[in-house]
Symmetry: none
Amino acid sequence: MDPHHFVQINTGSPEPIYRQLVEQVRRRVAAGQLMAGDEIPSVRELAQALAVHPMTISKAYSLLEMEGVLERRRGLSMVVAAQHQQAQPRASRIELLRPTLQKAADEARQLQLPAAEVIGLLTQLLDETNA
Amino acid sequence: MDPHHFVQINTGSPEPIYRQLVEQVRRRVAAGQLMAGDEIPSVRELAQALAVHPMTISKAYSLLEMEGVLERRRGLSMVVAAQHQQAQPRASRIELLRPTLQKAADEARQLQLPAAEVIGLLTQLLDETNA
Amino acid sequence: MDPHHFVQINTGSPEPIYRQLVEQVRRRVAAGQLMAGDEIPSVRELAQALAVHPMTISKAYSLLEMEGVLERRRGLSMVVAAQHQQAQPRASRIELLRPTLQKAADEARQLQLPAAEVIGLLTQLLDETNA
Amino acid sequence: MDPHHFVQINTGSPEPIYRQLVEQVRRRVAAGQLMAGDEIPSVRELAQALAVHPMTISKAYSLLEMEGVLERRRGLSMVVAAQHQQAQPRASRIELLRPTLQKAADEARQLQLPAAEVIGLLTQLLDETNA
DNA sequence: GTGGTCTAGACCACC
DNA sequence: GTGGTCTAGACCACT
């Protein structure tokens, strides 16, 4: 796994880096892009690739290990955990998206925007994002 | 304006209180629920109603003033700014929703969820939220 | 003296209104535009003309009275004080300008701007302002 | 950067400390004395050096960050922002001086002082200030 | 009455 | 170590 393409972080975001890492890895495992047994970049490798402090990477990996998403292997490298069913069913995957969509719905209500308008914009963004 | 219904805050949220205030007021002005010239609760009034420190309210009000949403009238309470045309046109209002929807679109891509599924859940949440 | 042309205030300025009043009157007396014995607008008149709280006007007038620029006359109206030599000599008048020019000089040094450039801009602004 | 020479404040001035900080830093960056990427003293360091409360420093830094003059690096000290090109061209730098010079011009008009006299005093003050 | 500034000091999150 | 947030409470300036 090329560390430069493993995850992308945005240092300007208000979201802490370690959390960006955790959530991206969690989603990629859920989506089946990372499969059980796959090796992930070492802390040092990824820290250098992302120009981030190694402790930040280490913190993210530890959290993912506690969650059962990653496993520490003999030696040093970590791998995607076996028992963690990779590629969760869609019904389960979409639950990971619920909090963000709920936030959008709350904001839409406060802005008194009609549902059609909100859905229109999301449709457009989904198109662009996947392009 | 009754200070108890002016805004609602959630002290448990990771989002700082002052930012919750800023965003709610910004949205209420954009939606036209607060009109140009409307008086807003005084710092002390709102602080007491929400049981937070006056400085927290003051910080939020100051940021809204810098944004041009509120206007200070020295010695008097603040009002919704005049030039900030009340009830922005919808084309502009929906822009306030774009960041959250973009985040949702990004997450959906990483989860490799089909657009229809994402839109389905949002539609459902919009219904429930407005109910 | 028409109250609308007596002074001009800028409610948006960070400078308090009462101080704007004090300094403008002081300068107009120093310049000889207001002469000893001239009546000035009443507190109520001016407050209405400027759309400002009467106490603000009153505070300014009181300060000018303490300075000896204005005098309270029998009845209600105030007049420019007699003993205050109206139309101070230029050598004295320019001293009223010194603090502002000193501030400009300090800022110019911090910006490392050449004197010629600073003087050029001031010359231009003096032209425009008197036009 | 030695915190004792980073900025000088005047606690007696009517201008709030945090604003003195903001304006001095802004001018030093504009003048190129602080270059993009330069580290600035930490909040605690500077607070101790100037004998003011850390929150006062923090407020100034936050405002400078909002202006785009400084950049936050989480967990590390702040630096002069990259996009804020160091050493702005003079044409731009002199604009920072315009408000103060405009104020001087306004006052000069009210005092009915001839331009030559005003410019004479400014020239003298510029000389003394740079000496 | 209004908001603004500052201090003292706690606690948290992040790196 | 870094900055951010919040509280408690004082004092000031302005209207």
